[in-house]
Amino acid sequence: MTDTVERSAGREPETITRVVVRFAGDSGDGMQLTGDRFTSVSAAFGNDLSTLPEYPAEIRAPAGTVNGVSSFQVQISDHDITTPGDAPSVLIAMNPAALKADLNRLEPHGLLIVNSDAFTERDLAKAGYASNPLADESLAGYRVVEVPMTSLTQKATEPLGVKPRDAERSKNFFALGLVSWLYSRPTEPTLEWISTRFKDDLVRVSNATAFTAGFNFGETTEQFEHRFVVLPAKLPPGEYTNISGNVALAWGLVAAGQLAKLPIFLGSYPITPASDILHELSKHKHFGVRTVQAEDEIAAVGMALGAAFAGHLGVTTTSGPGVALKSETTSLAVSLELPLLIIDVQRGGPSTGLPTKTEAADLNIAIYGRHGEAPLPVIAAYSPANCFDAAIEAARIALKYRTPVILLSDGYIANGSEPWLLPDVASLPDISVPFATEMNHTNDDGTTEFWPYLRDPETLARPWAIPGTPHLMHRVGGLEKEDGRGDINYTPENHQRMVDLRAAKIAGIAYDIPPAVAVGDVDDADVCILGWGSTWAAIDAAVQRTRRRGLKVAWVHLTHVNPLPPNLGEVLKKYPRVIVPELNLGQMCRIVRANYLIDAKAVTKVQGLPFTARELEDAIEGALQ
């Protein structure tokens, strides 16, 4: 900062349309909490927003090391946005490790606010710095503001009797206060939140004091050239809440139970990044939700299947490794033809891979990952809020067609959040299906029987007769069943018929889902983007930007990835080029190439991060060259 900068009189904030802020610190520094608070206040202020939390797989990696850095990025804007932003315009680095880990994300000439107290020789060494970057020329390309956050927090809280070591734990609130001042966020909601969140009196007052001190520091210091405000976005009118994908998914399951008039049974084994769905659902017992933390992934899906046989909406939640373990039971569910929801919050693989990072490489295992011919529907949520609708849709299909359904989410939308226009509960669909109560087959001699595999001629779904129903006692199992009667049957013709019927049932769902619709330059696009899942956000931003620059771009986004909408091939063939951005090595691209014989090109990324809009802009331009 130069001392020639004139301090603006009265410091009226400058209005900007959007800003991307990134908080980075040690895992123990409370960066997720800080980011969450900034997000909540901005949401309540009326901004549109999108978040990207990033944290290490270790609970507490060695303090002060690059491996232990935890970050939270949020974009807030006065207009409709879908991504957490490519490059932050401001980075708050609480220690040298955070600076080292995240500096390359900061945009050129971006604002860098560092906690200068943390740049001691020891901390610099732990982060692997040979010399202090604050003292050399390495940060010349950025606007650096050094704030001794630790000592300022200690000084502010000292009169309260807070010990220096304890005060250090409040420094994230100092940072939050400072950034709240910088972007003109109201302070009352955060102070109110602090007063209810922290039970310990000293911790509560220490955090509140640190927050206020940070805000006041911004007000009085001359280190900042400007103060900014991002005005509320012109979102469609209505009531909004800020929601993460995992919470939306859990609420969607609760809603599905209500709409199906069925109790929910969740069998789940803890796994990152899906555990929050188990946590959230276990709170809502008064909705008739039973949750069992099973002994393993296999038991979790087994319990859900047992509950489905009993007449509940059976659900299991997991991530990639768990999907692999559940594969055999999923095949059994295909054979039993019972409704079952398997939720896969994808993360980087293979194996343990990148547990806390995002990827969308489970498409193949979702569609194909079973033994034998075992087709099932697969649905992919595209944004945090969309997880709510996706859960209801997955349940609708599972119940109507008596089939396991895999619902794909991923770490990015599971932990990311966005404002959600609350739906009118009364307008949500009725997805209830009747249980069988009567015999369904009459023999030649006039006697009646219950045939568990006598199908509905339209949906090919079999009757769902639950224990407790008089006269309909029947046995199901993994052995091949006789078409109709359901008895064990090993004959060649019957097996062919049953395999064909199970395939036809799933294929037929294609006519019960929305058709593929292109948006953008529908009639004259030079390139069409085919997207699925959470790439939605980056594609949306990239399509807007490239079209503003005059490029002719169309976009089709899939939520039903198996079976595909029947008109998809026809839609894609209208365009001279098709590109398929995916956070894998081209799994959907291969499917559309095989299905429709079109020369689709994969655009791939497997770095544990979502696409940036910029990357997809480049991909669109590249396709047109």
Partner: protein, 340 residues
């Protein structure tokens, strides 16, 4: 589903129309008959009864019962049955498994079902062999067993199924055998009456791949001198006229003695309701092979909370505290703002 009317059924009501496909002479027939004969005595209805099984010869059992049933996948029956029993505590849920299904591939599910005390009646058919895959050694086969997969004899030490169950905190643990229908029915009746997990090991003869495995203990000729039938509240005596008995030595070891040598008062009195499973454990392991006197009957029968009921109670308590769930309220629970 009514509590007041006791259903009147006959064995025929519990027998399905499916042809039984076990090998002629298999011990499974005797067990099936015992269960089908017992069911009318239990005063329950076929439509409220579910049999869940895994994979193996014994796991074909549900097909032969005219109840609701599921032939599941290998080892997973306790997990599937847990979901069923927790979802529907009103049902009578039986699990049929074997030594391979329950103790090898499904060991984890079995011990956790027992630990949770899910309301299940678990019948484990122990024939000490893999039958359906045509004769490999099982986790209960003795060391030295020569099978297709162990041509030089097995070097795997076996499980004692009752030790596993007791170690997993099972609240009801019993043993019977396939040659004595009356004994089986008595044990199954008690197992069914017990609320929570009931675990019953059944010595079951596989006459094709492991014929006569239990003959030295259970055959009619030797039974009187080789079977120690535990009776709750009774001194543990066996043999002609009860001339033999079980005592606990000052070293804590259980020993088989001649009653005449020690006097009647020295004989251990069986108490299946002891909270401490230590004695049940020792009794279950009194014999270390199938050629010496072996304990049968109910080893342990104690009250522990039924898992499914406990889960249901939390639902009821939460509902009475918060009222029935309201979706519109839930969606607003993290705070909202209005855009006009």
């Amino acid at each position: 589903m009514s509590d007041t009317i006791v259903p009147v059924t006959t064995k025929k009501d519990w027998t399905s129309d499916q042809e039984v496909r076990w090998c002629p002479g298999c011990g499974d027939y005797g067990i099936l008959l015992a269960v089908q004969q017992l069911m009318p005595e239990l005063g329950i209805a076929p439509e409220n009864t579910v049999f869940i099984s895994g994979i193996g010869c014994s796991s074909r059992f549900p097909y032969y019962m005219n109840t609701y049933g599921m032939h599941g996948i290998h080892g997973r029956a306790p997990a599937i049955a847990t979901g069923l029993a927790v979802a529907r505590p009103d049902l009578d849920v039986w699990v049929i498994t074997g030594d391979g299904d329950g103790l090898s591939i499904g060991g984890n599910h079995l011990i956790h079902a027992l630990r949770r005390n899910v309301n299940l009646t678990i019948l484990l058919f122990n024939n000490r062999i893999y039958g359906l895959t045509k004769g490999q050694y099982s986790p209960t086969s003795e060391i030295g067993k020569v099978t297709k997969s162990t041509p030089f004899g097995s070097v795997d030490p076996p499980f004692n199924p009752l030790s596993v169950a007791l170690g997993a905190e099972a609240s009801f643990v019993a043993r019977t055998h396939d040659l004595d229908r009356k004994h089986m029915m008595d044990i199954f009746r008690q197992a069914h009456a017990h609320r929570g997990s009931s675990f019953v090991e059944i010595f079951q003869n596989c006459n094709v791949f492991n014929d006569g495995a239990f003959d030295d203990v259970t055959s009619r000729q030797v039974r009187e001198e080789m079977m120690i039938d535990l009776r709750d509240g009774q001194p543990i005596r066996f043999g002609a006229g009860g001339h033999k008995g079980v005592v606990m030595g000052t070293d804590g070891q259980l020993r088989i003695v001649e009653v005449a040598d020690v006097g009647e008062d020295a004989i251990l009195v069986h108490d299946a309701h002891r909270d401490d499973p230590g004695l049940a454990f020792a009794l279950a392991r009194l014999s270390h092979d199938d050629h010496s006197a072996t304990t049968f009957g109910v080893f342990r029968d104690v009250d522990r909370p039924d898992y499914g009921m406990a889960v249901g109670r939390q639902l009821a308590e939460t509902s009475s505290k918060k009222g029935p769930g309201d979706l519109a309220t839930l969606l607003r629970s993290n705070g909202t703002w209005a855009v006009v």
